[in-house]
Amino acid sequence: MLELANISKRYGKAQALAHCELRVPAGETVVLIGPSGCGKSTLLRLIAGLIQADSGTIVFAGETLTQGNILRARHRMGYVIQEGGLFPHLSVHDNVIVMARYLRRDTAWIANRITELAQLVRLPLELMTRYPAELSGGQRQRVSLMRALMLDPELLLLDEPLGALDPMIRYELQQELKVIFRQLGKSVVMVTHDIAEAAYFGHTLVLMRSGRIVQRGSFKDLARSPAEPFVEQFITAQRDPLEQLAEALK
């Protein structure tokens, strides 16, 4: 579905990405994980063509992405960012259909799709006439997901989609998202810095550090046979507090 070969990117002197290779098979969820500034978001934005790599190629659905075909390719990718990136001047309904309307999709098809998606993300249809400023954080991310799914893309790109939510809502949405992913069977690339979230969603975890991919594999692989000490440190750093909690409850 998606294949990145030998991708490098610099910002001035800083090497943001160095020789990254990534393969996302159809229907699989790949989670990019690592500390802040490791290049995981940069990689995601490269896939969406929001920035250009200095070298390397990206092949999406059998086609090498270029400046020429990126606009069309984006119609086949759904993209959700941390704060949702909803257009504040448009209602929920208009936010979701903005691209479909631009492409002059059939109105009946659009109406049908809205109902379907609202059901999928569990948003009542009455909410469609509201504006982003009138929604809660969790509702906004649901709308953002609806917008990303509107054109039924083959690939979903999620950049810390739950990062700005409080823990309760975050937990609830995690559950729902997993169900949705399973239901849809789409390829997903998700960025997070939370190892638990990564383990929960990802078939494959890709751990990055300073623009390089350190290790890829399932959570078990990473935890049991870390490729370098950093992998172990990264996992332990997030696991320890939880285990201490569990210890205290015994």
Binding site: R72, R74, Y79, I81, G84, P88, H89, A133, E134, L157
Partner: protein, 509 residues
């Protein structure tokens, strides 16, 4: 490129609206006269207009068009056909480098510029020395030399006259005046001092209205100390061919207006508050036996005319500014290097003092509405450009990123997302421009474009607060109305989602 084309279109449209009358040779001939920024000139200008009209020509009088240079250049370029001038001014200001001394030399020099002048009208508006008529009669004072016999008289001169080499110091030397009690003071105070009897002699202009009002006598400059400022009518040589009847009537004014008559006319306007038109017509009737017909505009009619002129100035210049400035602001936001250039250029335009900007336009676009509109247009650009730029730059990056990630091409992004989000900022810029524009447009009267500035200008000349308010109050009200209008527009244009955000933000505060 595109914007320059727009500019050209707008300018062409403006020019076609108001073709300068002096250029059109259609019958009946159109004669444009003008006057300087003081009452005497305006009265004489009105006489010229009434005379031209009497001969059957279409006549326009551009009142208080400006100072000597502005009128001289307007006459040279053919924007006006005639105006009242003083020989002394021509010699001292215009032809100071041309070594012109006699009247004959002056005529020859004017001819080289394609201009002519009439014979002197009969008064010499130079500095004069004045005393109360009653005192003059009692002491038998007729000439300045007569003052030598009365060393006890107290002199009070305006500060300027005291200081100038060609003022009091030179006068004292030429006439060997013995008086010791000589004070410098404000001109108005000098008149009051004369009235109260605390001083007896002061400087004045030979035709000042105050001569009549305070019943003063201007003493004859028998030693010819003061330069001669004979009033004449200056006109273009081609007017002789285009409208010979008009020129013939102009020439009849020669030798008919003496200093006392001019001073009396100045007093009727400045002190009694009569209109220049009525005073001019009355003179023509009594002294040239010409029954000119004239119509005085009522206050309401004048107000309507000024309102119409002002609205046209504001509407055209502001619309053009909006049409040009919004795209410039967009350009500035998306092309950083070009944007700096655009912002810098419009900022520099804004730093030009508005008065200077108006005057700069005269050589480019002449006088009247077109240069005023163009100056106002330039003045209105910056707030709109800057706010459009800022409005687009202030959109959160996450929103722009989302629009790009959706696959919207740049044009659609601008139309669907970016411009609607910048609406508030753009409208705020337009509002600022509109209010500035309405206020600044009052300066248009200085270059003959009329509007609410006209009563202000006349009010300043006649020292008439009421007249000044007749321009200032409507201008202020119009500024508020325009602002209100754009508030309504904002209510209609501002996307609902953005209003909700504001309300929420307000209720949270």
């Amino acid at each position: 490129m595109k914007s320059r084309l727009w500019l050209a279109t707008v300018l062409m449209a403006l020019c076609s609206v108001q073709v300068s009358p002096a250029f059109s040779a259609a019958t009946p001939a159109t004669v444009t006269v003008a006057s300087k920024n003081f009452t005497e000139s305006v009265i004489l200008g009105e006489m010229l207009r009434l005379l031209a009209k009497h001969s059957g020509a279409k006549a326009v009088h551009r009142r208080q068009l400006g100072g000597t240079r502005v009128l001289w250049n307007a006459l040279l370029s053919g924007m006006i056909d005639a105006y009242p001038e003083y020989t002394g001014t021509l010699l001292q200001e215009i032809m100071v480098k041309e070594n012109v001394h006699s009247d004959a030399q002056l005529r020859a020099a004017l001819a080289k510029h394609g201009l002519r002048m009439t014979r002197p009208l009969g008064f010499n508006n130079t500095y004069a020395i004045g005393v109360k008529t009653t005192l003059a009669k009692r002491l038998g004072l007729r000439t300045i030399s007569d003052l030598r016999r009365h060393p006890e008289l107290v002199f009070g001169f305006s500060n300027e006259f005291m200081d100038r080499a060609d003022g009091w110091p030179g006068l004292q030397r030429r006439y060997a005046l013995p008086q010791r009690k000589v004070r410098g003071l404000d001109h108005d105070l000098a008149y009051r001092g004369i009235e109260a009897g605390t001083l007896q002699v002061t400087d004045l202009y030979a035709t000042d209205a105050e001569i009549t009002y305070y019943q003063l006598r201007a003493l004859t400059d028998d030693l010819h100390y003061f330069p001669v400022y004979n009033a004449v009518i200056l006109y273009r040589a081609d007017l002789q061919q285009r409208a010979p009847a008009v020129v013939a009537l102009f020439k009849r004014l020669a030798d008919h207006i003496d200093a006392a008559a001019m001073s009396a006319m100045n007093a009727r306007v400045k002190i009694d508050g009569e209109s220049e038109t009525a005073v001019a017509a009355d003179f023509l009737d009594k002294h040239l036996d010409l029954d000119v017909d004239y119509r005085l505009q009522g206050a309401w009619q004048r107000f309507r005319q000024h309102t119409a002129e002002h609205l046209i100035l504001v509407a055209i210049s502001l619309s053009a500014a909006i049409i040009i400035a919004v795209p410039l602001g967009i350009l500035a936001a998306f092309r950083p290097r070009l944007g700096q250039l655009v912002l810098a250029t419009t900022s520099i335009l804004q730093t030009i003092p508005s008065l200077a900007l108006f005057v700069f336009m005269i050589p480019l676009l002449g006088i009247g509405a077109p240069p005023a509109i163009f100056a106002l247009f330039l003045y209105s650009l910056l707030p709109i450009v800057r706010n459009t730029y800022a409005g687009l730059k202030d959109i959160p990056p996450a929103v722009i990123e989302s629009a790009r990630a959706l696959g919207l091409p740049p044009g659609a992004r601008l139309r669907i997302v970016e411009l609607p989000l910048a609406t508030r900022a753009i409208l705020a810029g337009i509002k600022t421009s509109a209010v500035l524009n309405v206020g600044t447009a009052t300066l248009s009267a200085l270059i003959g474009a009329g509007g609410y500035g006209q009563p202000i200008l006349t009010g300043i000349r006649l020292d008439d607060i009421g007249l000044i308010l007749q321009g200032a109050v409507p201008a202020a009200v119009l500024a508020l109305l325009v602002q209100g209008l754009f508030e309504l527009v904002e209510r209609g244009l501002l996307p609902k989602g953005l209003r909700i955000q504001t309300n929420k933000a307000r209720s949270l505060e």
